[in-house]
Symmetry: C2
Subunit: 265 residues, 2 copies
């Protein structure tokens, strides 16, 4: 077995060892890893060291800890979310939330938590430029891949827009999704903004996303703007930090201001 | 004093109380907060509850814990990093790394850790599309605002490009920065991609960024592409998760595929 030497990064050595055992199939996806006391006895290190090592793997998205059941190898790998591509996918008949999962051969599932009229919470009112408590349509969803929760996605549309498109109150908002319904009302999104922050999951979120309390989540505030520069939808995404890789790309708006290249131009 | 009732979210109630004391100036920025034993005695809750409450504030970016010195109110507020704007700022003579801090009235400072020829690590080789260990110019920096570390920013340029512009080996890469030097060589960036992930800080990073080990960091892999679609620079940013708000915006490439709006179009 691997040498466990200096106290400084003992837990990192244990993490490396567990990682290689996951990679070579010593531990299988069907069964929990050996318990902390078992690993502690086998490797001759403290339970605290084992616990820290498992935290490293957990934060790297390799395992998930299910309280009372043990530590399991994750069934869902890290997923790349390409912002531009996902919102362009609606015309292929695929909901934006399913794009990445289908590309990885995973089975997406959407749980509709709430669809209906509600009062705009302050973060939503800020993003939409409307009054706090003004009426909005809310569509709250929890998304899964292979039955593991992958994100909470709550979408809000100002009620004066939403009431023009009754399909928005159904689970399936119809061909092309809600943005196509907004377009039919003359308010199709032409521009998007996203703000990304990182924080610790709340207790509710940790439960819904099957995370331990201390784990980081990514918050995405996605705003869709119509041609008149009105915010017509805001979507709040809460995503387990270890599960996602966010991808953005853009053309440099100032590329033509470079000095002329010597000889090449 | 505020009622501390149900055991379930006791620490959240303590966090709310401490938050309001920070907001109303009960605790000042010059001195550490009362110690955990002091707060435990005052509020009649366990030290563990105090510790969890302080973690909530720490993860929200309100306080920083300096080992051996205590818990301090943060001097640097959450900073918005607008990807498109920051890279467009070079023509105003401001380095991309300083844009956000100057906008907030904070004093930026750059510590140059290393500038020179090196072998491409695997993540860099992948991003640049070159062989692992191929020669690159590395520019390693640690950025500060008001003397608090705000990010590690390591930039890599393929050596066959970099050797054509000796200014790239200096701390100050000259007017317009490294992208303008690349443009003078005929390889000015015209397009950028960024990938964003979240993970726990390594021990080295935690020390350099003055974080505790368990805190999340944001990893940004920023790649600059020239007109021939060659990756001409990659920058790896490691940023305290609580300190930053990332902002992206883009035009919907498929907006013209919406069905025609009834009556409006």
């Amino acid at each position: 077995m691997a040498a466990i030497q200096t106290p400084k990064s003992q837990y990192q050595q244990v993490a490396d060892l567990l990682r290689s055992r996951i990679a070579d199939g010593t531990y299988s996806a069907d069964q929990p890893l050996p318990s902390e006391p078992q690993l502690s006895a086998e490797l001759g290190v403290s339970r605290q060291t084992i616990n820290r090592a498992i935290n490293v793997l957990r934060n790297a998205g390799l395992v998930r800890v299910r309280r009372g059941f043990g530590t399991f190898i994750r069934g869902v790998p890290q997923v790349t979310r390409d912002a531009k591509k996902r919102y362009a996918a609606r015309n292929q008949g695929t909901g934006a939330g399913d794009v990445e999962m289908k590309a990885l051969g995973l089975t997406p599932r959407t749980e509709y938590v709430e669809i209906g009229r509600a009062k705009a919470p302050s973060a939503v009112a800020d993003a939409l430029g409307i009054d706090v408590d003004a009426p909005v349509l809310v569509r709250r969803r929890r998304l899964f891949a292979n039955d593991e929760p992958t994100q909470l996605a709550d979408s809000f549309i100002p009620w004066d827009l939403a009431e023009g498109a009754p399909e928005l109150l159904k689970r399936d908002a119809g061909r092309g999704g809600s943005y196509t319904r907004l377009a039919e009302l003359g308010h199709g999104p032409v521009r998007f903004t996203e703000e990304v922050t990182v924080r610790t999951a709340t207790e509710d979120e940790a439960q819904l996303l099957e995370l331990d309390g201390g784990q980081p989540v990514i918050d995405i505030t996605h705003v869709a703007w119509d041609a008149a520069d009105r915010a017509v939808e805001v979507a709040l995404h809460v995503m387990p930090g270890n599960l996602w890789r966010l991808r953005y790309d853009w053309d440099d708006p100032t590329a033509d201001e470079y000095p002329t290249a010597d000889g090449d131009a």
